[in-house]
């Protein structure tokens, strides 16, 4: 990939931390407003952190296709007396690590002190991303013939990845089976049943190479985290999770919008590869320093590309790595310990990030990775995306 300018370690890193997390239930029909979901998740993140809403002065969120509520509305509902920082990103799964990265910049620079980052949506009973027809300049080159939705775009990349890796669609089962195993240990997961390879192969194709279990489960729900300075975090309820590394990146020809996948030259490398050098340089650590990884997985092929793109495994080796059990609790690198978006549900990666926080705080319960001190988190599946490296204090 052709590279542009790179930088030394950004000065804002290592000074901020994530403290608490908050979730609502994840459901197929919440029967409540998105605003109500957002408020509930944010309140729980504050309770978890042990601070009052009056101390919050920043709020950040992301949404797609008008599926959520603005930070201002949530600040209003929480009774925040003085908001100094608000960011509403028009992004999907590429956003959570970037939103936290941006909050960290705001806090380190003094623009804000305590920033809530949330994602809230009725993604199942309301706007469903997987079948929403959107108006965009790129749509005219795919919609007319029936290429209309993310599962199909990502599947187009997955096929090429399988071709170049010398694999077949059936090999994607490894990711599904491994993440189902974790989901069985996660009360929040929408799907908690384990799956055999035969059961996987009997599932119908949605869009070949993806069968039903290769696709995330759209849900109603919300998830929030609180970002603050490391100094303040040390005086809160929970062990600070330090934001050590962060990057957002894309490469040349990222398209004209987040669904414009056509012109990206190499469907076997996604945003993870584009941001890897910046990410590792930003924290002075490397792939071998990670104790676990929470990798965005709207579809089963995506964490494979992230593992390879970040250099956690060699190119073409991710499926074998998963098949060998190396992503399980006692493996070389536990991955997606909550069962991923495939099993827990599609909160567009906010829950992927929250799981990393729980793990580093030792709150993973039956799925806790022993002695987890470092974790890499990714957000995004296609051209652009973001990532964080988190550590214990």
């Amino acid at each position: 990939m052709r590279r542009g300018p790179t930088s030394d370690r950004p000065t804002y890193l290592g000074q901020t931390a994530i403290t608490g997390v908050g979730y609502t239930d994840l459901e197929r029909a919440s029967r409540r407003s998105v605003l109500s979901l957002a408020l509930a998740a944010c309140r729980r993140a504050l309770e978890d952190s042990g601070i009052d809403a009056a101390e919050v002065d920043g709020i950040s969120t992301y949404s797609l296709y008008n599926d959520s509520v603005a930070g201002q509305a949530v600040a209003n509902g929480l009774g925040i007396p003085r908001l100094r920082y608000a960011l509403d990103l028009n992004l999907g799964g590429q956003a959570p690590c970037f939103a936290v990265m941006h909050a960290a910049m705001a806090i380190a620079s003094g623009a804000a002190s305590n920033v809530l980052v949330y994602r809230a949506l009725n993604g199942r009973s309301g706007v469903r991303i997987g079948s929403t027809r959107v108006s965009s300049p790129s749509a005219q080159y795919r919609y007319p013939m029936g290429l209309t939705a993310y599962p199909q775009y990502v599947a187009m990349w997955a096929r090429r990845y399988l071709i170049e890796s010398g694999r077949s669609p059936d090999d994607l089962a490894e990711v599904v089976l491994a993440q189902r195993r974790y989901a069985a240990l996660n009360d929040r997961a929408m799907v908690r049943s384990q799956m055999s390879k035969d059961e996987y192969l009997a599932e119908p194709f949605i869009v070949d190479p993806f069968r039903t279990p290769d696709c995330t489960i759209e849900v109603d729900g919300a998830c929030a985290v609180l970002v603050t300075s490391l100094d303040r975090a040390r005086h809160m309820n929970l062990r600070p999770v330090i934001i050590q590394g962060a990057a957002w990146a894309t490469g040349q020809r990222p398209g004209t919008d987040i669904a414009d996948v056509l012109a990206w030259p190499d469907y076997t490398t996604n945003c993870s590869a584009a941001l890897a050098d910046d990410l590792w340089a930003s924290c002075g650590m490397g792939p071998g320093d990670m104790d676990l990884a929470e990798l965005y997985d709207c579809f089963s092929s995506v964490p494979l590309m992230a593992m390879e793109g970040l250099g956690l495994v060699d190119r073409g080796e991710a499926i074998d790595f998963v098949r060998a059990g190396e992503t399980w609790l006692d493996g070389a690198l536990p991955v997606n310990t909550h069962g991923g978006l495939l099993c827990e549900g599609y909160l567009h990666g906010m829950n992927t990030l929250a799981e990393a926080v729980l793990q580093l705080q030792g709150r993973g319960g039956a799925r806790q990775v022993d002695g987890a001190k470092t974790c890499v988190v990714t957000s995004g599946a296609l051209m652009d995306g973001s990532a964080l490296v988190l550590s214990v204090d």
Binding site: Q140, Y141, P144, G146, T148, A155, M156, D208, L262
Partner: protein, 137 residues
């Protein structure tokens, strides 16, 4: 090689794409070419994504290319295509360089690198690009 497509979402044609669709109506498949750096690209755009300059014109292409990737849709995610499933959409690397999406015309299973030739067909009067086997290969 027939391309049997029932459903259609009409393209939202804009100022940057109108000429490309007009040429397709004349059964001409084209890509954009930058007269400054020579880069050929698709879809057409106001500037060249390689050098950023504005000197971009359409140029007709052979329609020949190789299969880069494909998907076969078994569940229509837009109900408009409910009568079409299963259907296959190819990503084809044209010999001139750019990549383009198009329906697979015919029943053969695609293969990576397979040689294909563009077929321009119409659905409800709307011309679209599909791909069938290249008889030369």
């Amino acid at each position: 090689m027939p391309c049997r497509q029932h459903g259609l979402i009409h393209p939202e044609i804009d100022d940057d794409s109108r000429e490309w669709w007009d040429r397709l109506r004349d059964e001409r498949l084209s890509v954009a070419r930058c007269s400054s750096c020579g880069h050929r690209f698709f879809p057409p755009a106001p500037t060249c994504p390689s050098c950023g300059r504005e000197a971009c014109d359409l140029e007709d292409v052979s329609g020949r290319g190789s299969v880069y990737s494909w998907v076969t849709v078994h569940r229509a995610l837009d109900p408009v295509f409910g009568d079409d499933v299963p259907y296959t959409v190819l990503a084809v690397d044209l010999d001139e360089g750019p990549r383009i999406f198009g329906r697979l015309c015919g029943n053969a299973s695609p293969e990576a690198g397979q040689r294909v030739l563009a077929v321009i067909y119409a659905v409800k009067g709307q011309p679209l690009v599909g791909f069938g086997p290249d008889p030369r290969s």
